[in-house]
Symmetry: D2
Subunit: 387 residues, 4 copies
Amino acid sequence: MMRTGVWLVGARGSVAATTVAGALAVRAGAAERVGCVADLPGPDRARAPGIGDLVFGGHDVGGPPLPKRVGMLAEGGVVPPALPGLLEEELAAVEARIRPGAARRPERGQREAAARIGEDLRRFREEEGLDRVVVVDVSSTEPALPPDGPEAAATASADLLEEALDRGAAPLPASSLYAYAAFRAGCPVASFTPSPGPRLPALEETALREGLCWAGSDGKTGETLLKSALAPMFAQRALRVRSWSSVNLLGGGDGETLADPANAGSKTASKGQGLRSMLGSEVGGPLHIDYVPDMGDFKTAWDHVSFEGFLGVRMSLQFTWAGCDSALAAPLVLDIARLTARAHEAGETGPLAALGFFFKDPAGSGEHALSAQWDALVEWCTRLGEV
Amino acid sequence: MMRTGVWLVGARGSVAATTVAGALAVRAGAAERVGCVADLPGPDRARAPGIGDLVFGGHDVGGPPLPKRVGMLAEGGVVPPALPGLLEEELAAVEARIRPGAARRPERGQREAAARIGEDLRRFREEEGLDRVVVVDVSSTEPALPPDGPEAAATASADLLEEALDRGAAPLPASSLYAYAAFRAGCPVASFTPSPGPRLPALEETALREGLCWAGSDGKTGETLLKSALAPMFAQRALRVRSWSSVNLLGGGDGETLADPANAGSKTASKGQGLRSMLGSEVGGPLHIDYVPDMGDFKTAWDHVSFEGFLGVRMSLQFTWAGCDSALAAPLVLDIARLTARAHEAGETGPLAALGFFFKDPAGSGEHALSAQWDALVEWCTRLGEV
Amino acid sequence: MMRTGVWLVGARGSVAATTVAGALAVRAGAAERVGCVADLPGPDRARAPGIGDLVFGGHDVGGPPLPKRVGMLAEGGVVPPALPGLLEEELAAVEARIRPGAARRPERGQREAAARIGEDLRRFREEEGLDRVVVVDVSSTEPALPPDGPEAAATASADLLEEALDRGAAPLPASSLYAYAAFRAGCPVASFTPSPGPRLPALEETALREGLCWAGSDGKTGETLLKSALAPMFAQRALRVRSWSSVNLLGGGDGETLADPANAGSKTASKGQGLRSMLGSEVGGPLHIDYVPDMGDFKTAWDHVSFEGFLGVRMSLQFTWAGCDSALAAPLVLDIARLTARAHEAGETGPLAALGFFFKDPAGSGEHALSAQWDALVEWCTRLGEV
Amino acid sequence: MMRTGVWLVGARGSVAATTVAGALAVRAGAAERVGCVADLPGPDRARAPGIGDLVFGGHDVGGPPLPKRVGMLAEGGVVPPALPGLLEEELAAVEARIRPGAARRPERGQREAAARIGEDLRRFREEEGLDRVVVVDVSSTEPALPPDGPEAAATASADLLEEALDRGAAPLPASSLYAYAAFRAGCPVASFTPSPGPRLPALEETALREGLCWAGSDGKTGETLLKSALAPMFAQRALRVRSWSSVNLLGGGDGETLADPANAGSKTASKGQGLRSMLGSEVGGPLHIDYVPDMGDFKTAWDHVSFEGFLGVRMSLQFTWAGCDSALAAPLVLDIARLTARAHEAGETGPLAALGFFFKDPAGSGEHALSAQWDALVEWCTRLGEV
């Protein structure tokens, strides 16, 4: 049996904690696989590693210990009240495998920082006897790189990046530093956030040099998921969407991060781009992401779509999505980790376009329509299963 | 150039009037093809007859003359205020081709009634020099046949039906009488309503005997359209739908008809069946259709979907669809008529499964998911275009 | 200090259990008085007995023991997870004061049944040393009495009722039997349900003969509460409401009871009547109450209001209310019990019109507008406080 | 019979045009008084001048001629299609009484500008033989005055303002310039916008010196109206509102103006302040005003209220308000003008607190709850009627 490591960057956050607690609960028979796509007929043909075969570790720069975080999630209604007690020992074992994140370690430069991260990954692989380790970024959103700054220049190619690291520069945002270290340590990468991560040119090139695959970015868990199901309907029915307005009320950690417009920038960009592609033209309407602390781990999104039908008649669609971000994200994190591990085993390299089903900003693919993404996923999984 | 006749059963109703006025407006360059699927990339490969090449006629048992009905629609905001004036002559010409419907003519039996209807169809074809006539039922909803009654027995096969007609019986509901007459007159049929129409066993057999194709049933214009876009999303994301509650507030003629539970029965049955198929299991929740006269030609539907994600977390989706039924239906009526005409030209027989995209209760197909229906439609249109 | 008994008919149901657990939690300092109107500035002038001074008992015909029911409510998210443990002993003490309900005791006639109920009430008052006992009906909804049946005849006056009881008849629905027994035992009554209870002519007369006050009926906890806040807005702004459509999706015990149209009848009647009074004319639109089991103790109501403004422009308001019925009801039950006790102390008799603020179908008052009801409540409380 | 002039600042805008067209239509018997509060039982006791007795004139700095604007409103569905033709002559007569606004006339200083405006008002009064003229500002929203700038200093008192005008300064925003000119010309003022208008200290003082009354500000037409009906409900039920999030999607002219954050500032301030007062504490949640051009004269507002009930249970209320701004505003403009005229006749001075019912930011009153405002309005109207 293959043993697969899942290394979570941001390992003490809500998404990571729900992912780990959920996987352990499934293994213990205390939870069902609701929300787990890789076990559905179709995607299951890939023969990805089972949830029970995953071993978790990760980096974080702080946060409450994992068992405590899971307790907090239980209080917030995200995980069942009995889970923290039931999984106490196993959560403590994962906590013991969480290493200080980059920002918390005094380092002379990013060359050294990457080396230490790589060392953490190698040690995890060896100590746990793992066949491979997938590094999944579930940390808070970072701002995009300014397009004309020195960081963008230094990350424009793998060679330029190596030069910059050699001379002690630190051009990488944290998410990309982890991706770089992962690639250099032979680990495939998945980026669940809108942060730059593996998507800088230098990083994409590094992945290819190392013969590795990667997946990203920005998990499609809520309002954008609905857009990707509904926008094709308007297109296929030749209905003319006139405006599509979106409001997201978020509590929780991600909401707070996104309250800073600098960080929200990368999120709103990644949320907005699909509509144009699915509807075939630019569509107006605001896109708000608001931090509403009292909502806790839950979020409510409201979308208002104004459209025109035959003979110019004006109509509208509104929807309200009231969901739990961590509970929506966690099974996708498991899916992505498992399928990326399977792709790595099968020798795939570069961006895994077929995983676009899971992402707001699918790497390697311009397809945003959910059903087309599903078809591509199933086809790819079928092919993988035959390898 | 092929000339295609479109014979509307219920020719003075709102849907028929919007269809005719819209087609004439498009031909006159006074309206765009918003909502017209057959002209989209993909379906356009079928090379269906153009909207401008359609000639309209029909049956009705009463109602205001077509120009008057179009005027009423303009007052209700369904068609632009300028249209009734602009199209006055052409609407009067169509009105002149509307013949008294079955219920308005004293007839000794359904054999004779069918003969008269067939005569109307043949005369339309000849007088207008048409290559073919597609009969489209856009009349009010009829109740389903009681499963154990004598009508069901007499319509269980084509032979039984012919026997019954021979002995002067009248086992056919009006919608099926029109379909029978159409088939016997060599016309393909499309059923835009949930009425029995061509779907009785005797009728299906008659179509085959005559070598004709047909399409049905119950145009998918609103809330069910949304269901068919959204339910697959839940299934593909492995989210467990716990209940799906639906409320439809309808003004207008159809609303009034559906206020009678006997008639609503066939509607709610056809609305309800898709969910089970798309979600893979029975899902609870009420389905209401209410007549709210003040809404006029507009309708508002509210759906509440309660679902469960990972670790049992409860979430919900609500949507409100505020649309104009006739404006949503009319371009589909044109699409269905045009594609059925093209299928007839290409020699197809039996139910046109690939038109399931347009229907709540797709004949010849168990597929309800909109994107899968779209793919099937495009594939079929591509094939048709190559004939 | 006055000691007030609250005797709950339906003492093991969700509303009763939330009421008792909540009151005990407030007394223990483990919960705040959120939702408690009698403690707000204005109503507090009545100087009603404090929540901590209430002693609970009740009747029920079955159901899980109260501590178990509270545990179920904790699982359902209605009461905090820690509460069942914290209140274990006190809940057991209340459970020990719950007596078998009428339907569970073999009795020769309603005369005897009423006597036994009265005995239960008197024993409660004496054993607990209470100054008074308010009987509050929070049991499941009963159908209305058929207006032309023998029960209606026998309950048309107090004399007729006494005669009927004397000859061994059983004309009273259960809710009215409890109210009769309570009045004969000298206890004021509050009816939180739409059941007949104290509202039959014979019962109203009995209350007066005994010099007792009573309150009712049908607690205004959700969608009707919103109607009573919003309908006056339309009236005061001279906006013309054209239709008001309402849908209530209920899980839980009451939902199940109301799925039976016979029972729902009294509920929909009591929900519907206010609109006419507040808007000044009849307004169309359906009113649905649906049982959707998966919603548990929660309910979601959707209302669609179509209205017309200046120059005939059509507009709409929709709202969705997602609430927990028991949590909305429980503090009102406490309020009503406390204020009815205070009114009894002050010697009030007959229906307590000023408590209309709490009810869908206010006894003794035709006022349904919430703010007017609030003003009347505050004025009455002020007056009570001066007694 | 008294003749009352209504002088509209922004006389060619949508609100003004709807106001004038509506009043003329009512006088012509072509429209009902839907939305007209001053004619309801209660407010009608004031015996305000009738809609038919109003004579309109105004200022504007541009815009299409009034008959054209009304035609545009008919196309947009705000006024009935027949109205522009029916009222052609009368609209032209009002257009002839529209004078160039302040910004369009070369003037040496605000002293001179005010003099010219005053002259326009006096000429209107004389030429039309009016008993009085009420000046109503329905122009676009202006930004608030920077609190520490020289304009604030120069408008801190009537004396300081006169001094500043004497030395040729121009400290007044346009809305306040009109108000100043109106007061000096003996005209009462009503401010339907959130612009500073009569609310600067110097202006309030000027009104008193001239013995004039005024009303304001910012007409309460939509989402804030609902807040003022719903927030008291939460307060009176002791429910704890945790966040109240508001989104307003506006097309039309006001939407465009408000897309500029500088202008929106005064709007969002005036929209936000009521909640705190009605709920008794600060409540979080975003307040967005978005310009969505395709919505035309219509607007859709979505509010999400998260609240807590007994025992900490979390619940929510959402509403969607889809309305036509001009149609909601116009009858209120008439109400305010008529009642202000009546107050002037009765000799009232200073801010008309009882008109707070109509305003988001009621001058002279801290009351925001709709029902309390209604009661105050009725009481005041009753008193006025007795003068």
